[in-house]
Symmetry: C2
Subunit: 596 residues, 2 copies
């Protein structure tokens, strides 16, 4: 269904993330429903509505629906009503008191046929949600996902909201209801297909941040226990439903690659390799840490709210990856030197959004071709073949769910591994490679995963000129003791442990630990598993056993790492705060009580 | 003379930088001269001495002459009485009131022959300074330069102090006088050869931090005017006298290379290339920024004193280097693959210390062999050949001094360029390459240019286990307006400019500028001269022209850069403070008055 919708809408383009956000125009259809002065507010405050109009006309005129660009990190392009952010103060007049989509007295009534006619900018764009009819025309220009908003034109929002469960927040529903124009006459329950019905089962040990799409992290207390993270505990960061890769598909599965120039109508030099072809290439094995750009977003939100999944410190894990080097694959495909003159190499996964657009990323060609960057396409994760044979073996051993997790959630049958680069570029379920002079057009490459200075908000951000996050900065975290724990003064000593990691293969030169909030420091013992400082693709675990200072009722533990380039973690979040809550690598602080 | 001294002392080794510093033992010869109780302090307080013994016996017992490891950045190994740091409180009883080296009444008198006999640990180590005789035996173990202290055993300190003029500070002389045991009988002025007599003339525009060895930086206001720094303004960081490279030497000059294992008595596989050989290799050209590890040390000292040259923000410059790739040179020399299995590649310059030990550095072999690291041996700097022919040409043009500067101060005839790596590893006057499983044994590789956590002092530092500084962290500086300047409110706008740079070839993704001390931020315009984010070997210049906020009496300008790995500069110096004052890359702050 999504694909059909997308075909008819492919040519429509609207401005993304406007600098000034979305302002309701005076001439809006909405104005026929929304009071232009306090005295007429009764029209909005219908008996059943529960809507309050607290604002003045002045405030309503300046409602800014600052586009929030998949700001949750989940929502992104791909669906019509991607999340958007709201200036809460300015829409305070529309505080929701009724159930979203319920009938509202004194509003016009429309049939589904009426709604269907309003499916373009010319005819205005109406959508439905349960019993409600909404005119979203004036929101279109502010929609972060651009033309994806047209997917629901003349139709119901419900399938899209179902796809991204996180849409169903109070804030989003307030926005939707602020665009209300009527009730639907012939409402009947819409049968919504669960796009996530084929998602695999997961370990119960994971802490779930979002069910649809699935995003979860291991408990911090388990994370740094082992150098390699067990597959069942490896954090999961999905942007879309897990694609189904069944036996039939596996038999014909091919990794495709081509060259594409802007002026081309179709890709050139199309090449492909089967899974068997790839497995016949020289085997390359590497321990590498994967880290989500949103790791530690929760702490950043505590300083000033950011939009996105509220990751704690666990959206980072390490695995031993086995596969073939990307350079070997490109060579085996038979590309010529001139093909490598392109500036970028784009990657696409099997996971697609409702328009059929795959998840995608890109990196600079010069990085892709550098053998020292160790970029690979993995078909094993921690020694577990993602093959049917092994699935059967593991089924017998009752490890079926564990393996399904590693195979399905982590990119079965092929995952791109760009070590030292933010997880979002490490495309899972890798299907396609494109050599191009342009960065990937994927929303996640161009309109997400970019940082801004702390003063930039969704009204002033310019994703087009911002630098796409690639390598990650130096990071360290205390995994033990936990913030809610206490230590016994009688023990005399406390053992503090954690992980440290830097992007680009840079090793960890030092981890400094403080027990007094950063007044004094000591060195932690490092275990980097023998990695070179220039190819430290995996984290360094660290530990320090230190005397508990006397007469202290609590310990203010702080850690900060120094990488092999002597880059350091920033002391405070304020200086690195950014609207998407990315790359929080500030000093990690954990306060624990001292008892006895 | 220095070489003779060194020969007889080569086998002596002492502990460097002891954890607990230097404690005067009770049984020291010094105790025969220094009171063990306040009541007998009169022995020290002789009429002419001017020495006061204010401390108790207790305090004297714990005098810690924490070794200070060439802490000035100049002093380093290489001479017997390298600078060392003093716990001022603890030596308060020895505050100097007399002229160092002057005769002290009631102390024994020795002949130079007496002194000469005390030239080993067994016979104890005596030295002279002018009229004074000193027993330095118990300081030996604490001496940062290790066995270099034996250079002066049984002899005068004066030639060494002359070599490193900065030794002649009040603090150092206090230490020396605290070791006083007598007067010299047959004193006569020692003729001291000026080791720096052959140093070139330099541009008067440079701000000199140290004359001997010569260390100077360009004025900050000129620094970011041009992408390439004129040779005459390029900062100069010399650790030793500039070696004389005359016509005769040039004719026979060869870059030597060999393999050396610990068990070897002499180097293996010795190879060499003449200058002509090197100039016949494929020409490699690169714009690269050189930065001293001590850049911005002055600011760090303002937070808490550090030892070293008080560099402002100008020990950084950029040049276009022309030469041959290191990998091409090694290949042309005919090394075999097994030679490259060594862990390190060591470099030595023509500049030698009084023992004949050259300045040296080393980097990991895997970095040296990576062509993407663009390591080269330069024979041109900003297009100026460092050849005699050109010197003559420029003499005619009266640019002689300018060229002499570039040729002599910057490594004529060959300089190693390891872009993105701290200046100290970019060996000047390159003479020798050694492939080895060990890091360079140079003092500057092993006992200097290493960072520690902010709580580590010279009593607790362990240079042996610390990580040698290589790539530098992200940096940015405001070059205009200057701190002492003012802007006119009538102008309406202020233009702020500066440089930004990160090590390892990482480009600059963003420079944030604040006018209000870091409360709010805006983006500066960047000019990186078209460099790739993965091979940004040179700095990025930046500029922002911004409205002067109304009703402000001063602007608290702050800049902070983000590199292509999203590493950031630390907000405060406190968290990166280190005893050697290295790698200060904290937010750069400049406050200017607003007039009118």
């Amino acid at each position: 269904m999504y694909r059909n919708l997308s075909r008819s809408l492919q040519t429509l383009h609207v401005c993304l993330l406007p600098k000034k956000g979305f302002t309701l125009p005076k001439t809006s259809v909405l104005n026929t429903l929304r009071p232009t002065s306090l005295s007429s507010s009764s029209r909005c405050l219908s008996t059943n509505s529960g809507f309050e109009s607290e604002g003045s006309n002045q405030s309503r005129k300046s409602i800014n629906y600052a586009a929030y660009a998949s700001a949750t990190g989940i929502l992104a392009a791909g669906v019509a009503f991607v999340t958007w952010c709201v200036n809460k103060q300015e829409v305070a007049h529309c505080k929701q008191k009724r159930t979203p989509g319920s009938s509202v007295d004194k509003l016009p009534t429309y049939t589904t046929e009426d709604v269907r006619k309003h499916n373009s900018l010319k005819s205005r764009i109406w959508v439905t949600y349960k019993n409600g009819v909404y005119d979203v025309t004036d929101f279109v220009a502010s929609h972060p996902g651009g033309d994806k908003i047209f997917l629901a034109a003349g139709k119901s929002l419900e399938p899209f909201f179902e796809l991204y469960g996180i849409h169903k927040t109070k804030e989003v529903m307030e926005i939707v209801e602020s665009l209300r124009i009527g009730n639907i006459y012939d409402t009947k329950p819409i049968k919504i297909e669960d796009a996530y019905k084929n998602d695999p089962e997961r370990s119960m040990a994971l802490t779930v941040n979002s069910e649809k799409p699935f995003n979860a992290e291991p408990p911090l207390s388990l994370l740094a226990d082992t150098f390699l993270t067990p597959n069942s505990l490896f954090f999961v960061r999905n942007h879309l439903p897990v694609p189904v890769v069944d036996d039939k598909m596996l038999k014909t599965y091919q990794l495709e690659a081509s060259v594409f120039d802007k002026q081309d109508t179709k890709p050139k030099h199309v090449k492909s390799l089967t899974l068997s072809d790839i497995k016949r290439l020289p085997k390359f094995e590497m321990d590498a840490t994967m880290q989500c750009a949103g790791n530690r977003r929760k702490e950043m939100s505590q300083v000033k709210e950011v939009k996105g999944l509220s990751w704690n410190c666990g959206s980072i894990s390490t695995a031993k990856w086995t596969g073939a080097r990307l350079t070997d694959i490109l060579k085996a495909m038979g590309f010529k030197d001139e093909d490598f003159n392109k500036k970028y190499i784009q990657f696409e996964g099997l996971d697609v959004d409702p328009t059929g657009t795959p998840y995608g990323s890109s990196i600079a060609m010069e990085k892709a071709l550098d053998p020292n960057q160790c970029i690979m396409v993995a078909y094993e994760m921690n020694g577990l073949h993602t093959s049917k044979k092994l699935i059967i073996k593991f089924m017998i051993l009752n490890y079926y769910n564990v393996l399904r997790t590693s195979a399905a959630d982590h990119g079965f049958p092929l995952r791109l591994i760009i070590p030292g680069v933010v997880g979002a570029r490490n495309v899972k379920w890798l299907k396609k490679i494109v050599l191009s002079d342009e960065e990937s057009h994927s929303h996640w490459q161009r309109k997400d995963y970019k940082c801004f200075n702390p003063s930039v908000d969704f009204n002033t951000c310019d994703f087009d000129t911002a630098y796409a996050v690639q390598e990650t900065p130096v990071q360290s975290v205390i995994s033990e003791p936990s913030a809610s724990s206490s230590v016994s003064a009688d023990d005399g000593y406390v053992t503090v442990r954690g992980y440290a990691f830097s992007g680009g293969g840079r090793g960890i030169a030092r981890v400094d630990l403080s027990l007094d909030g950063g007044e004094t420091w000591l060195n932690a013992e490092l275990d980097n598993n023998g990695q070179s400082p220039y190819k430290s693709w995996a984290w360094t675990l660290w530990e320090a056993t230190v005397p508990i200072p006397k007469n202290k009722k609590k310990l203010d533990l702080v850690c900060k790492a120094v990488d092999s380039s002597h880059n350091v973690q920033p002391e405070r979040i304020e200086g690195i705060w950014n609207l998407r809550g990315l790359l929080n690598n500030s000093w990690h602080r954990v306060s624990v009580k001292v008892e006895g």
